[in-house]
């Protein structure tokens, strides 16, 4: 499997990572190396093995339906680049 530059550009865009054109060859090569390594796993016959969805075999523990958090707007907003009252403020994002 081999990634073309356009695919690399798209992956970067989806991840909101800015990539200059001259960086594309290097990134494509690195990603191809990773994909090549993963492809080796495809050689294994896993037909009889159920998929492993986590490193440990256990089920979710559940919390009770109790309000025991929130009411901390100062902490929540502590890192906001900009705020207005108790709102976060961001550049206009409208359809």
């Amino acid at each position: 499997m081999s990634l073309d530059f356009e695919t690399v550009r798209r992956i970067a865009h989806l991840a909101r990572i800015r990539v200059e054109d001259d960086e594309l060859p290097k990134l494509a090569a690195e990603l191809n190396t990773i994909l090549g390594w993963v492809e080796q796993l495809a050689a294994l016959d896993v037909a009889e093995i159920p998929p492993l969805t986590g490193p440990v075999s256990m089920a979710l523990r559940m919390r009770e339906d109790v309000i025991d958090d929130g009411g901390i707007p100062e902490k929540v907003l502590a890192n906001a680049p900009e705020r207005l009252g108790d709102y976060f403020v961001v550049p206009k994002v409208v359809e």
């Binding site: 865009h13 989806l14 909101r16 969805t53 986590g54 440990v56 256990m58 089920a59 979710l60 523990r61 559940m62 919390r63 009770e64 339906d65 109790v66 309000i67 025991d68 958090d69 929130g70 009411g71 901390i72 707007p73 902490k75 929540v76 907003l77 900009e82 207005l84 009252g85 108790d86 709102y87 976060f88 403020v89 961001v90 550049p91 206009k92 994002v93 409208v94 359809e95």
Partner: protein, 485 residues
């Protein structure tokens, strides 16, 4: 032949599927202990988990899982004892983590179906593809500032159920009936309040068109339509747009669109170009959700009576026609009111008074069945006075209006205003004599064969008695005095 749209080149059929997002009723959020209540101070119902601070781990709320199971059971669906959460990745300012925790490959609820009723009295079964649990996003306010967007994360992390239907609907009416039925079921179950104005129930509508008998053509998704009426309008608008494209030799592109109720059209959301590349993967913070079959059975045993079963029971137990029973079970509170009213009384009379007078009074006063201007006990008292002959049907309507206005009891109004029906034959005979004396010409006409005038005499006597004459007695006396009756 069902619903078709006549194009320039022939008839077109419409194919519709709905994805409904229903906000789960719970105290706390899906993965945090912050409150879910609507209308709180901005960012006051937010935990550091909801705000996606580094190092925070989600822990699932048992009640949200229970609500999803109850809903699945109410939709006659299979409950998956093993399900899993995935990350759905996209960037938006009101999604702090950059991903939504959702269930992609392994939803908690699988295939089911519900029955919808159409205006011609027929019923249809609509398939449910799946139901899965996911987090809601925060709220963006775009209209508070000329160049900025304000973000409130109170809603971020609240549990949603996404309920996906099969593409089984063929007309705007069917889609409207499906959405209404789904809302009724959710409200009966107590798993979602169904409030479309506050956004606790939102619909995405998938629409495509085809020639009758054809396979499916490309569909478009119309996002976030927030009333039954708009869903129906959006379907028609979108179907007509697609038909115009096909008929001009074009090709419909699969895309996400928005409905503009004011203009009655849908428009493309071009900025959502990348939106369908969500790069789902299993959330490494969450191991699988494994449910005990015994718990599912316990939840099944404690489900309330659902609308279909209640409707059947109303038809059998109270002898109501399907249409009346359908109206009375649309809301659990309406059905409760009816059962209180009908207990020990004529069930058909109770149904007529509710569907006629009470529903009209609710509309007029803008009040709900949960907070009615006249309670079931009060209306019951009125019906008792009507049934035992204390008041006539006409007076009963008047008394009801006074009850709505003043909140006074039926018996008190009747006594205070002297509205008791007159059953004293002498008083009725006197009124009859006066009316006939004043209308000698009409009496002569009547006797010469114009028998239609009988109704006129009844009306005049009732008028003279201020509506309080017992109608049966008035008829009887008139017939006797006029002779030949």
């Amino acid at each position: 032949m069902g619903y078709v749209i006549e194009g320039k080149t022939g008839p077109w059929e419409v194919v519709i599927g709905l994805e409904v997002h229903a906000q789960v009723i719970s105290q706390a959020k899906l993965f945090s202990g912050a409150a879910t209540a609507f209308g709180g101070e901005p960012n006051h119902q937010v935990s550091l988990i909801d705000a996606a601070f580094p190092g925070m781990l989600p822990v699932i709320n048992r009640e949200c899982v229970a609500q999803a199971i109850r809903t699945g059971l109410g939709l006659n669906a299979e409950i998956n004892l093993w399900s899993r959460f995935d990350r759905k990745n996209y960037f938006y300012a009101d999604l702090p983590a950059g991903y939504q925790i959702s269930q992609y490959q392994h939803p908690i609820v699988g295939k089911g179906e519900i029955e919808i009723e159409l205006s011609d009295g027929s019923t249809r079964r609509i398939g449910i593809t799946r139901l899965h649990l996911e987090q809601d996003a925060g709220k963006s306010l775009h209209d508070q500032h000329p160049t900025k967007t304000l973000i409130d994360l109170n809603r971020a992390g609240v549990a949603l159920m996404e309920i996906v239907s099969e593409p089984d609907m063929r007309s705007p009416e069917e889609a409207g009936a499906y959405l209404r039925k789904l809302r009724t079921i959710l409200r009966y179950l107590g798993t979602c309040d169904g409030n479309m104005e506050e956004g606790s129930l939102r619909a995405d509508v998938n629409v495509s068109v085809r020639r009758p008998g054809e396979g499916f053509r490309t569909r478009c998704e119309v996002k976030n339509v927030n009333s039954v009426r708009f869903v129906m309008q959006a379907i028609e608008a979108e179907a007509r747009r697609q038909i115009a494209i096909w008929e001009e030799g074009g090709v419909v592109e699969q895309e996400t669109r928005l409905f503009e109720p004011g203009r009655g059209i849908t428009r493309s959301m071009r900025s959502k170009e990348d939106a369908h590349d969500y790069r789902y993967f299993p959330d490494p913070d969450l191991v699988p959700l494994v449910i005990d079959a015994a718990w599912v059975e316990e939840l099944r045993r404690t489900l309330p009576e659902l609308p279909d079963a209640k409707k059947r029971r109303f038809m059998e137990q109270y002898g109501l026609p399907a249409y009346d029973a359908g109206l009375l079970v649309a809301e659990a509170a309406t059905a409760d009111y009816y059962e209180k009213l009908a207990r020990g009384r004529d069930p058909k009379l109770a149904a007529n008074w509710m569907i006629g007078d009470l529903f009209a009074a609710l509309n007029r006063t803008g009040r709900s069945i949960e907070d009615p201007p006249v309670a079931a006990e009060g209306l019951g008292e009125l019906l008792d006075l009507l049934t035992d002959g204390t008041i006539s049907g006409r007076i009963a309507k008047e008394v009801f209006e006074i009850m709505v206005e003043t909140g006074e009891g039926a018996r008190a109004i009747v006594e205070k205003r002297g509205l008791r029906q007159v059953t004293d034959t002498a008083a009725i005979e006197q009124a009859v004599a006066e009316v006939l004396a004043a209308n000698a010409d009409k009496v002569a006409e009547y006797k010469s064969g114009k028998e239609k005038l009988f109704g006129y005499f009844v009306g005049q006597v009732m008028k003279r008695m201020a509506g309080k004459g017992n109608p049966a007695l008035v008829n009887e006396v008139l017939r006797r005095v006029l002779g030949g009756g």
